[in-house]
Amino acid sequence: MTISQFLVLGALLFSIGIYGVLVRRNAVLVLLSVELMLTAVNINLVAFGSYISDTLRSGQVFALFVITVAAAEVGIGLAIVVLVFRNRSSANVDELDLLRW
């Protein structure tokens, strides 16, 4: 197995995740796409960890950290989305433009 194949896969997933972040209108689905991007990052990390045969296993450790932080982030994010939905009865991100000019 070459390292490149994992990296290319990771890149592909990342790009798809970007596409999803940019395109989706539902806030929850945007978060979902962000999860996709984070998964791609994890794949990259683990692949590189194996590539350098790290005795410290730093790649995997950091992948764990990413997973943890992603979970925390999803918790908060969804809480916010729920709150926003409660106030506006809509989860449409296009309507969240109070910072507009």
């Binding site: 490149s4 890149a11 592909l12 689905l29 979902l32 683990v46 692949a47 764990l64 997973i67 925390a72």
Partner: protein, 180 residues
């Protein structure tokens, strides 16, 4: 481009059993990912993510990161997706169908950006790393635990703080106003 060399390289690559498995899993992941970003049904999208994550776990297993793979399954698929489903449930309109549609006007610019990103990263990485092989570095959970509590103990603690903060924050943000 030397078509002959690349074709023979590809034949060699396919002949490796690991690579075949890799190919299958990656196809699954990609297909699922595409469904995640393009499915009109929100629940389908979430469930597709489950599939993608499962495939990622498989890849981890191939790379020898067993603990990470099972953590992925446990935390991500087990908890995060459930959270997502709950969130979807709370924020959906009563009719059941997602009233929020895809933004068609933004598809092409987004596609361009995504494609650009992919091309850039892929090119850079293949140019840098090329054919170098990667071996499955099978690791035992004990080793991971050792490292986690010795070398990476500070980030570990920090992350636990992050979790605590997220926990508290989530409750504070999402609870109903007690005055009402």
């Amino acid at each position: 481009m030397d078509w002959g060399a690349s074709v023979s390289w590809m034949r060699d690559w396919i002949s490796n059993a690991d690579n075949v498995v890799f190919l299958v899993i990656s196809l699954v992941i990609v297909a699922a990912a595409i469904r995640v970003v393009s499915s009109p049904n929100v629940v389908h999208a979430a469930l597709m993510l489950v599939l993608a994550l499962a495939g990622a776990a498989g890849l981890f297993l191939m790379l020898g990161a067993e603990f990470v793979a099972w953590t992925l399954v446990l935390v991500y698929i087990g908890a995060v997706i459930v959270l997502f489903l709950f969130g979807i449930m709370i924020t959906r309109a009563p009719t059941g169908r997602d009233p929020v549609r895809l933004d068609h006007a933004r598809r092409w610019p987004a596609a361009v950006v995504a494609l650009g990103t992919f091309v850039t990263i892929a090119t850079v990485t293949t140019m840098a790393f090329g054919d170098r092989p990667v071996e499955a570095a099978v690791s035992r959970s004990g080793e991971l635990g050792d490292v986690l509590f010795s070398r990476y103990v500070i980030p570990f603690e920090a992350v636990s703080f992050v979790l605590l903060a997220a926990l508290i924050g989530g409750i504070v943000i999402a609870r109903k106003d007690p005055d009402r």
